[in-house]
């Protein structure tokens, strides 16, 4: 279980960008972090990965402070544009001892990416696929996804959504931020609602459906309209 405790971040004039944020991401579940634009969702993911400093808070995986159990898939390209897909994969393989080359190649085939494609020349959708491919091939139990479906065409979305119901998800705990709730509603196990840097609600989506007959979108309306 990935445990986030007491994340706090203030930013000069912007006080309380993150205000005592605590939550858990269980293994074998898809947890969705929901919030309106600019509420701090991305910041939380980046804070977990140490890309952004925080004033307070701890990140623990199964009680230990190890960061090599978490992989991050950001919503922008992080590999230099002059590299080709193949070179990017080779790069990752060199730096990460647990890299799963087979998964990388399988996904490259599934996404119909050529090893010789230069990253700078890829479309936005294909860049997202490369990011996702890298995230999964890193072979880490926890995966953080920042807006994996944002601004992507329908067919790419379907491909990506397919991954979420495939065997690649086995043994993984996913934390995802997204605005495209409709596309992934039926896949989400838990929902965390964020507003103004504070967690205002946590729900189990199937429970919500069973006990209250509400969808995640319904719940969103409720939570954010008060």
């Amino acid at each position: 279980m990935l445990e986030v405790r007491g994340l706090r971040k203030s930013y000069g004039r912007k006080k309380n960008v993150l205000n005592d944020v605590s939550f858990t991401v269980p293994l074998n579940q898809l947890t969705c972090l929901i919030g309106l634009n600019g509420e701090g969702k991305s910041t939380i993911l980046k804070a977990i990965m140490g890309l952004v400093p925080v004033d307070a808070g701890t990140i623990k995986v199964d009680g230990k402070t190890i960061h090599d159990s978490i992989a991050f898939v950001p919503d922008l390209s992080t590999m230099p544009g002059y590299m080709s897909v193949g070179e990017a994969i080779a790069y990752m393989r060199d730096y990460y001892p647990d890299w799963n080359q087979q998964v990388a190649e399988e996904l490259m085939g599934f996404f119909k990416l050529m090893a010789t494609d230069r990253i700078a020349n890829l479309s936005k959708g294909n860049k997202a696929k490369v990011n996702l491919l890298i995230g999964f091939a890193m072979n880490r139990p926890y995966l953080l996804l920042d807006e994996p479906l944002a601004g992507i065409d329908l067919f790419t979305k379907e491909q990506i959504a397919w991954i979420f119901s495939s065997h690649y998800m086995e043994g993984k705990g996913i934390l995802m931020t997204t605005h495209e709730i409709a596309e992934v509603e039926h896949l989400i196990d838990r929902v965390i609602f964020l507003q103004n840097g504070t967690i205002i609600q946590e729900d189990d989506s199937e429970e919500m459906r069973e006990l209250y007959g509400k969808s995640v979108q319904d719940r969103m309306r409720e939570v954010y309209q008060t």
């Binding site: 959504a161 065997h167 509603e185 199937e206 459906r209 069973e210 509400k214």
Partner: protein, 126 residues
């Protein structure tokens, strides 16, 4: 498969599965797709598929031996029970939708039979 987002997904999948067993699409004693394959086909989360299979096992509709794909039960009485359950659910839904309009039972039955027969005929003609 299109899901209603307001009812538990696993129940919808469970219903889908039971329907197929009752209809004979998954025959008695036949192997059924693995959890993974089901998750993939219906585009659901793997653990939702697992939940469905557990329910099916609990209701004795499928049997699972280790290292062998799960099979539909050979016990016809269990399948009949599921069949009755589906019927009861459908009837309940129908009654729920029509009761408030307060139409006398005989009229309901006449209309029901008419629609049922039309459907049956169109199927024979197809």
């Amino acid at each position: 498969m299109h899901f209603d987002q307001r009812t538990p997904i696993y129940l919808q999948v469970l219903y889908w599965f039971k329907k197929r067993i009752v209809m004979g699409e998954f025959k008695r004693g036949e192997s059924i797709p693995s959890r993974r394959a089901l998750a993939n086909e219906l585009k659901i989360h793997l653990n939702t598929a697992q939940k469905v299979y557990k329910e099916l096992e609990d209701q004795l509709l499928i049997t699972t031996d280790r290292n062998v794909p799960s099979k539909v039960t050979l016990d016809q009485s269990i399948i009949d029970r599921a069949r009755t359950e589906l019927l009861e659910n459908a009837v309940k839904q129908f009654v729920d939708s029509i009761y408030a309009i307060q139409i006398p039972l005989e009229e309901v039955i006449i209309n029901f039979e008419k629609e049922y027969n039309i459907r049956k005929r169109s199927e024979l003609n197809a």
